[in-house]
């Protein structure tokens, strides 16, 4: 039970007044970011990252991860009151959340969503507490070949599990890797792909890409759709919360199911959205009230919200234990670690104990604080959405520009951000997934290093990726993930053939 002792040490770190204040600030900022169109968890944190450079790393990660929790909570507010999913994984929440709000039960729907989010996140944090050290310990034995196989699995999952066409996912991802390769080659120290432009010497920073692709791109999409917010008013008071909670206890099975689906899906990249839909679908099939789903039934909020939050939280598990982020937001947090001079990965559990356990403890407390903040401040946050878009859009543009500038104090980066924004808008309209591109920009150098070091060890033979049981298993899993759509249709064909044979 060494984890428990470490965890309590972490709580001691988090419970300092300065850190609690940052936690509150983070949650409030996070909910605002989650509610506003054009600002999501990933680019919101990217914009605020430079403000944390002067803080101690533990305080900085507490604030940034709390922004993440806040953004996750915020997505539910827009989904329920305005029928606008703030984040893709809130889509399933609108199915029952918005009908409930229209029936005048907005307070109940919001309380249900927040409580479910809290439960999902809590289950995932407990899992992280006990699994992250195990995985990190295991990963200490990893060589370059094993690390490359994990990168391969991560990116293969995107190709096979994403609903976008595989060719487009590959193009988007490889562009990300190529952008990461621009500039100084970390192994030979040689310049490459700069074509003589001095501004490309340092390569492309993924923070600029995140702010452009997700921030500017999102504003352009919102502008095109001509968003007119017509929302339902919500009042939450102690009585509503209490009554809802009493009612919610009977859905504990759905909540647990959702949390587990979320944890399982969240470890894989891009798992939060499919996780929330899967949980909604499974709950609808298993629940005795399944027929009421879609007409404003609380259980239809419990299922996707627990899964989405559990997935959002467990996306941090591979980030902490392996240094491989499971989502763009986790990637931005990882970028923060690098900037503060911390090397993410298995060694962090040995060398940066205080930091890691402070982060894990802040996940527990951050979600408690988050639940209290959102339950008490909903009307305030909903009011933000009533500010017209022609006011919000330029303000967000300015914030994105400031965020992009402060990463390296460079006005060239602001121009790059704008280009990423316009390209991101067109790519998104054409069904190219952007998350793999961002993760590839972040992980490109490390994946390449692992690949080349493995090849060096084997004198250029690819058999090193099948040389022992561990690396072969991970590579095989990666191949299964890569060809999953083909395998699935193959299985379906076999099944129909077997049926015809009888």
């Amino acid at each position: 039970m060494e984890e428990v002792a470490n965890l309590f040490h972490g709580f001691a770190v988090v419970l300092q007044p300065y850190n609690i204040m940052l936690m509150l600030v983070g949650i409030v900022l996070g909910v605002i970011i989650g509610v506003l169109p054009g600002l999501g968890g990933a680019n919101g944190i990217a914009i605020l990252l430079p403000l944390t450079f002067a803080m101690p790393p533990t305080s900085a990660i507490i604030m940034l991860s709390c922004i993440y929790w806040g953004a996750l909570f915020g997505g539910a507010i827009t989904a329920i009151l305005f029928n606008i999913p703030g984040e893709p994984w809130s889509v399933a929440t609108t199915f029952d959340g918005h009908p409930m709000a229209q029936q005048g039960k907005a307070g109940e729907a919001l309380t249900t969503a927040f409580t479910s989010s809290f439960v999902g996140a809590f289950v995932a944090v407990v899992m992280i507490t006990f699994f992250a050290p195990l995985i990190a310990d295991f990963a200490l034995k990893f060589g370059p070949a094993e690390f490359f196989s994990v990168y391969f699995l991560t990116f293969a999952s995107f190709v096979g599990l994403d609903k976008s066409p595989a060719a487009k996912t590959i193009v988007s991802m490889m562009i990300g890797f190529a952008l990461a390769a621009v500039g100084l080659d970390s192994i030979t120290g040689q310049l490459r792909l700069t074509f003589g432009f001095t501004s490309l010497l340092n390569g492309f920073d993924f923070l600029i890409a995140v702010i452009g692709l997700f921030g500017i791109g999102e504003i352009l999409i919102a502008m095109e759709e001509g968003l007119a917010f017509r929302g339902v008013r919500a009042g939450i008071n102690v009585k509503v919360v209490w009554e809802t909670w009493k009612d919610l206890v009977k859905y504990w099975k759905t909540a647990l199911l959702g949390s587990f689906i979320g944890c399982w899906m969240g470890i894989k990249p891009g798992g939060a959205t499919p996780g929330s839909f899967m949980s909604y679908g499974v709950a609808k099939k298993l629940s005795p009230n399944g027929a009421k789903f879609g007409s404003g039934h609380p259980e239809g909020i419990v299922a996707p919200e627990t899964a989405a939050h559990a997935a959002g939280t467990s996306a941090l598990l591979p980030m902490i234990s392996l240094g491989i982020p499971g989502s763009p937001t986790a990637a931005v947090l990882l970028g923060g670690l690098l900037i503060w001079g911390l090397q993410p990965g298995p060694l962090m559990f040995v060398e940066q104990k205080e930091f890691v356990w402070g982060l894990i403890a802040s996940m527990y407390l951050g979600n408690v604080v988050g639940l209290i903040v959102v339950l008490t401040c909903v009307p305030l946050f909903a009011a933000i959405l009533r500010i017209p878009f022609s006011v919000i859009a330029p303000v967000i543009l300015v914030l994105c520009a400031i965020g992009a500038y402060t990463v390296h104090n460079s006005t060239f980066d602001v121009v790059m951000m704008m280009i990423f924004g316009v390209v991101g808008y067109i790519m998104r309209k054409c069904d190219y997934p952007l998350a793999p591109m961002v993760l590839a920009i972040v992980l490109g150098d490390k994946a390449e290093e692992a690949f080349r070091q493995s090849l060096l060890a084997s004198q250029g033979s690819l058999t090193i990726f099948w040389s022992n049981g561990l690396v072969a298993t991970i590579m095989a899993l990666g191949l299964v993930a890569l060809f999953w759509p083909l395998i699935q249709s193959g299985l379906a064909q076999l099944r129909t053939r077997a049926r015809q044979a009888y």
Partner: protein, 168 residues
């Protein structure tokens, strides 16, 4: 060539054309990556694989994926789908053009003045707000930003002639 959508609305560029243009652009990008990798060396040197070794294969995958995409679009159904209606594109351009000018102006007139101008143009031009409201937000946000960044967090943002005149 008819450019009208099935929905009969305003019409707009066809989705296919945009898809093919984008895939051609990514093909070109892939070719540039391949060219740059060959320049850096894609063979094995004394230090193992040379700098262009890894990016070379990335370039091949980009070109391959782009060509598959073009093929899929060419044989795919839904030939008349529009990318976006002209009216929608006008709104998008109404963001891109001022934002592009804003970004270009920052090095010359500073972040604060440029931001104030952007907000004013947006609120008065697109939002049709009266001057008073627009000025309140347009001047308020840069002033708050100034206090937060320059004073609280000691992060300097780009400044122009106006700030120099005021002595910052």
């Amino acid at each position: 060539m008819s450019e009208h959508s099935q929905s009969g609305g305003g019409g707009g560029p066809r989705h296919r054309s945009v898809e093919i243009a984008l895939a051609s652009a990514t093909t070109l990008f892939g070719l540039i990556v391949i060219y740059g990798s060959i320049q850096a060396g894609i063979t094995w040197g004394i230090e193992g694989p040379r700098a262009g070794f890894f990016p070379f294969y990335l370039g091949l995958l980009i070109v391959g994926g782009s060509l598959v995409t073009i093929a899929q679009v060419l044989v795919g159904p839904n030939r008349d789908r529009v990318f976006a209606e002209w009216e929608q594109l006008r709104l998008v351009l109404a963001v891109i053009i001022p934002a592009g000018i804003y970004v270009a102006l920052i090095p010359f007139i500073g972040m604060y003045v440029a931001s104030a101008l952007l907000i004013l143009v947006f609120m008065m031009g697109i939002g049709r707000y009266n001057t008073l409201w627009s000025l309140a937000v347009g001047l308020g946000l840069p002033i708050i930003t100034f206090v937060v960044f320059e004073r609280l967090f000691l992060i300097p943002l780009p400044k122009g002639p106006l700030e120099r005149l005021l002595g910052f």
